[in-house]
Symmetry: C2
């Protein structure tokens, strides 16, 4: 619990109107997009980097945790204030400070909603590619903190590939600039990419310089239904090694398709075991040609039908079906554990087969979908918490899935981060020496462990270690 | 000086045949591609990661510096053993362990020559893009340590964008794995990218997992000569914001052109003030169309002639002329200080104008060329050390150039690193708080400061601080 004294000091920094202290108000900032929640002692909405510096210095002085938060759309508990203390909501820092066509950069504050940024950039004929499914409500600061991805990462890469520079309040209260406004830069250690994906544990981001690219002249979308998983996997592999450079290459398994069937703009065969959703960017003629060749690959691999979206609304309907999968799974079971594992591209078929086998054997629905083009598959273990058999089977099922992923030389998370939900599994991927090094690194940034404690590494005494 | 005892222990680890101790032999590993040199006390050629662990543990025990070294082609003194001790030459770790078409990855040891790797990858129909001018003799380990770039970074990015995972001997002697074999990964802090560009100060890389892409189906090269710098800059800007996605967009100023004029496969007009060298990758038809439109942009901006390479040998001749610029400058003056500054793309014309003015005023030849497509300009201040006026003018000229770059919101280095040569200028870019944080980070990795000491941050007492 933070003391009344701390509350008064916080009020002096941000003003009464930017401080929440009642239980009802605080509860609104206790959770994220997981099913986890923890009540903070206070919620503040700072209006500037200078205010954040003061708050962080106060935290060091009094020893309370500070948990930065954007829109709370994270999927691993990263913004849940698991040790209480102060939640630092960054939504007031929501200015797009600059979009420079000349330098191909945008300078933004962390609280800008990603969708708003993307639209503003596109209005200038430019493009900011990362596109997580939560784009319409997540913040760019959260994207940086978790290193968000999305469907077009196959061609364009993830958030990491677009952040050139950052302004950050360190856990010790100093404001520093890292990185550059330039396309390249190797001056000193790469703090910029170290902050990327550090889940709010190494500092509070207050300004972001993003690389922009030209808006693609054209995009084609196609969908291919397969009666056979192996055939779909073979088409993925052919497309990826063809030099045809897909922009996005998404996959949905049979169980997932059942949840979004009626949202698709074409009748899906009852026998469909997998759907591929493919986007291709480029010059109009070239896109036409490459999409045609990809459609051929799918056809030769056995896809039927192969549909090319003939209009923008039809393409958007296809992508909308993809984006609503996560909430649509509620139709099957009220709760789910979502893992966003990544395997080497060649191992995707083996992963999908293993998941089907595990689902059958464990008697739990497992729905898989996601970014086949980069091996990042969203694996959802669905369960009803009121059914004891299901509830009790979840933990072992997830553990088994992660073990399969590691055996296939994959990684535990591609986009969502470790946060709280995957912290118990960190040792499945990192050796004790690597974890010890990461702890020393955290210590070098945050000697008093005030910045989002209890994440990535379970904090001693949290019950997770 | 390392003691006889240490020499005996080193011999026990690597064998007599992999240890050099005579002054003549040691001198061969004292320098890099700068004009700096410092005699090491011993040179070892370890044959495995296990041997490197032993050597590093010995260094901690006895307190001697260890400086990792690839081919010694670095341009900032990064592999010069400035505090003596042991040079660790990694050329025996030179195996390409795997090239996987299925997973689109290569697994290599650090001593592999980049050109050999690129050829092996291309023989499989795949492509590893980074292409520094030293590709035929630099090692991939050095590329990772410095975050090497090259001409095609405009489209494909730099070494950082291709390193998925690393095996590293930490400065404390433990072997760890960082990163993944997968295209995405956000598990824990991003140690992989932290090692990228850390110039051998945070550990010894012993294995590298690289992302590969499909080999582009076609590449077109074109050259455009401009009588006017502003016109060339305008063409660069138009091409970059056109959505035509150039693969490479190289620039040479008038002074540089004079050095390579006879190497070009076409007669260059006497009035040429700038040459743009452009590459475009993609499907054959598309490349033809995009190269045509880029040629039009250049023509409209005033280029004459605009030459499209009509054969592979002709294209190679153009790129060869680009690659030999650095040694060709010796024709003008025996010595040079090479800076590889980067400015925001829109600031390139202002940088070039400023350089011409500085050259005139200071009476020193300044030759500029490089990667206009990402603002990374190689600025060479040429001088004759026997001419006192020139020799004495160099330091202030370089300092002035770097100040101009910072004023234009640029960075001191895009590819070459800080090493020794730019360490005195670190404070021009990083704040005291940022430098202090970087020192704490170094300390967290290397508590005894044995790993390539004296780089990035000038070591206390080195005369550079």
């Amino acid at each position: 619990m933070v003391s009344d004294n701390v509350i008064h000091e916080l009020e002096a920094i941000v003003g009464q109107e930017n401080l929440l202290t009642t239980p009802e108000e605080r509860w609104c900032y206790a959770y994220d997009a997981t099913d986890l929640a923890q009540m903070p002692d206070a919620v503040v909405f700072p209006g500037s980097a200078a205010e954040i510096c003061q708050i962080v210095k106060l935290a060091n002085q009094y020893g309370f945790p500070v948990t930065p938060r954007g829109a709370g759309t994270g999927r691993s508990g990263g913004s849940v204030p698991i040790q209480g203390g102060v939640v630092l909501v960054l939504t007031r820092l929501n200015r797009i400070l600059e979009i420079s066509k000349e330098d191909l950069v945008a300078v933004v504050e962390p609280g800008v909603i990603l969708g708003r940024l993307k639209a503003a950039v596109e209005a200038q004929g430019l493009y900011y590619p990362p596109d997580p499914s939560s784009a319409d409500f997540c913040t760019i600061g959260g994207n940086v903190a978790e290193c968000a991805g999305g469907a077009v990462a196959v061609q364009y890469g993830v958030t990491r590939d677009y952040v050139l520079g950052l302004t950050v309040v360190l856990p010790t209260g100093e404001l520093i600039e890292a990185g550059t406004r330039t396309m390249k830069g190797v001056v000193g250690y790469d703090l910029t990419r170290l902050f990327l994906g550090s889940e709010g544990t190494l500092g509070v981001i207050t300004r972001i310089i993003l690389k922009l690219v030209s808006k693609p002249a054209a995009r084609q979308t196609l969908a291919a239904a397969f009666a056979d998983l192996t055939a779909a996997a073979s088409a993925v592999s052919q497309i990826l090694t063809s030099g045809l450079a897909p922009t996005a290459l998404e996959f949905m398994d049979r169980a997932t398709l059942e949840c979004v069937r009626e949202l698709l703009p074409f009748p899906l065969p009852a026998a469909a075991a997998a759907l591929l959703l493919i986007a291709v960017d480029g010059q109009p003629h070239d896109v036409e040609e490459r999409a045609g060749r990809m459609a051929q690959f799918c056809g030769h691999a056995g896809a039927d039908p192969v549909i090319r979206a003939r209009s923008l609304p039809e393409a958007e309907q296809l992508w909308q079906a993809r984006k609503v999968i996560s909430p649509a799974l509620k139709k099957v079971r009220p709760l789910k554990v979502s893992e966003d594992v990544v395997v080497p591209i060649g191992a995707i078929p083996r992963l999908i087969s293993a998941l089907q086998e595990i689902s059958r054997r464990r008697g739990l629905p497992i729905h898989s979908y996601g970014h086949a083009g980069d091996g990042n598959i969203h694996v959802n273990v669905l369960y009803d918490p009121k059914v004891a058999r299901e509830r009790e089977a979840v933990a072992a099922t997830v553990q088994e899935i992660l073990a399969v992923v590691r055996k296939l030389r994959g990684t535990l998370s591609g986009e969502h981060g470790i946060g709280l939900t995957k912290a118990p599994y960190l040792g499945m991927e990192l050796s004790p020496a690597a974890i010890a090094l990461q702890r020393r690194l955290k210590q070098a940034f945050d000697p008093n462990n005030i910045m989002n404690p209890g994440k990535i590494f379970p904090a001693t005494g949290s019950g997770l270690d």
